[in-house]
Amino acid sequence: MTNPKGRFGIHGGQYIPETLMNAVIELEQAYEHYKNDPDFVRELNELLANYAGRPSLLYYADKLTKTLGGAKIYLKREDLNHTGSHKINNVLGQALLAKKMGKTRLIAETGAGQHGVAAATAAALLGMECVVFMGEEDTKRQALNVYRMRLLGSKVVPVTSGTATLKDAVSEAMREWTSRIADTHYCLGSVMGPHPFPTIVRDFQSVISKEARQQILEKEGRLPDAVIACVGGGSNAIGSFYNFINDKDVRLIGCEAAGRGIDTFETAATVNTGRLGIFHGMKSYFCQDKYGQIAPVYSISAGLDYPGVGPEHAYLHDIGRAEYVPVTDDEAVDAFEFLSRTEGIIPAIESAHAVAYAMKLAPTMDKDKIIIVTISGRGDKDCAAIARYRGEDIYE
């Protein structure tokens, strides 16, 4: 689905400073070499199995299914991975690749802290230096993850520019990369940025749908009717969709963070409210004003609080292969609490956006239909913030 210049339809590309061009070319060449290198593949699979804990479970949520009274709901449990989210899939791949390329230092951006924690973990394991850029606003919302990264030996740099959230963390990581390239790999956390990142991250995350497809065939003897995942930049969603893209009868549904609603300015629902633009190295959809100034987006979820979306999602939207639906803060918080009570599974607030849409969709479907919902991460990190949302002040 990728052409040589890293385009997905009209989206993607390499809109970055000249200073970084040789770095992304070198990365592309190394990736093209190592992705088929038997030693690399073996080493990565070994880490995924014995360190990250793959394959992750495909769990039939019986009580959730019966409570909602419609389609059968399976949960793809990425929350059970080591470090608590799908982010480890990509990070182990990129960190291993960076090491093969002779890099000794990783830099990364993070929103909720899930990618930052995963990057810090991989760096600790592989003996690399790691610096994580995180919006100052997010360091407050996700203080526990900041501590985890430091505990793992990484340096966390609070970013104060712009809106002090995920987009500014990406900008700052890019700025850092232009100043130090020789020994440093930018371990981008989502299917965004300049080529080859959207392809590399998608490939490393596609293990989610590779497993889920096989697991559902084993359990049900057929493919699901819908796959639902949350979308910020879109890495767990593309990972969840990828191996179902050619199965035309499987609906692919990405849940965007609508914040306080897509009719307000406090939203991060890019496909629903944005328009075509060029930013952070790629052509895709972005929330922006009439003059192309990037909008200060908002969501309760620090991980979905991003004004753009990965180019492959923009393309899947254009060709009508995937649907992108908005889910508000309120709906996500309700789902966060509902899944906790019905299944004893506390999802990340990001993943709760996918659960919220499943709660709307399942009751409209027949009981013999099947939905897979990706639980991209666990919700321990969100408990204090959700308590505050409900008016309760707790200390972590």
């Binding site: 400073p17 000249e18 500014d168 700025r175 192309g292």
Partner: protein
Amino acid sequence: MSNIAKAFENGKAFIPFVTCGDPDLETTGKIVREMVKNGADLVELGIPFSDPTAEGPVIQGANIRALSGGVTTDMIFAFVEQLREDVSVPLVFMTYANVVFSYGAQKFISTCQRIGIDGLILPDLPYEEKDEFLPICRQYGVDLISLIAPTSEGRAAMIAKEADGFIYIVSSLGVTGMRSKITTDISKLVSVIRENTSVPCAVGFGISTPEQAKEMSQYADGVIVGSAIVKQIAEHGKEAAGPVGEYVGEMKKAISV
């Protein structure tokens, strides 16, 4: 012949940068006129962008001040039109790809031609993506400026061969901002460029003192200064035209002797 070539006809060119609308367009107008009076050969006019990923903290600050002041692309076009009544040195816009793309490339670039903008610098548009705007730029005679960086190994010749207007040599790794020392071998980069094009080249990123400007002008045809000027504007606000003009005079003198 590109109008930009005129900037390189009076010895080494001094190219100052200013963000339009920082702190307001009236001040920007005074600053540009004062720069020209004091020897600026070409002026880079920044159109502010919300997320300027190639800029260091100083120019980031200018972008924020200008946007908070409410300046827009349309206001800047009207400002340039007025500026052109008495300012004749070549002028180029420096902004980000999304500002042009979002406005509509055809509409943006044809407006540049109409109001007398001679070139366009887009730091997030590398050689590989220049077809996004290049055909339209050539159609309207607006030079799309190519950048060459210290990390452009194996790319400089390819970029130089197709360059229009002038070549912007990025002196150092990293983002814009003042540096105490420039360690890149600029003369080596320039010799690769010279083998491949007759288009003039100017060095920018990190230059702030007359000594640095003098040194860089030994290798290249011109010197670009941004952050050192923007820092003075941050300090002096609406009163910045005087001190900036004086500074430009000093820098031009340093590269003229």
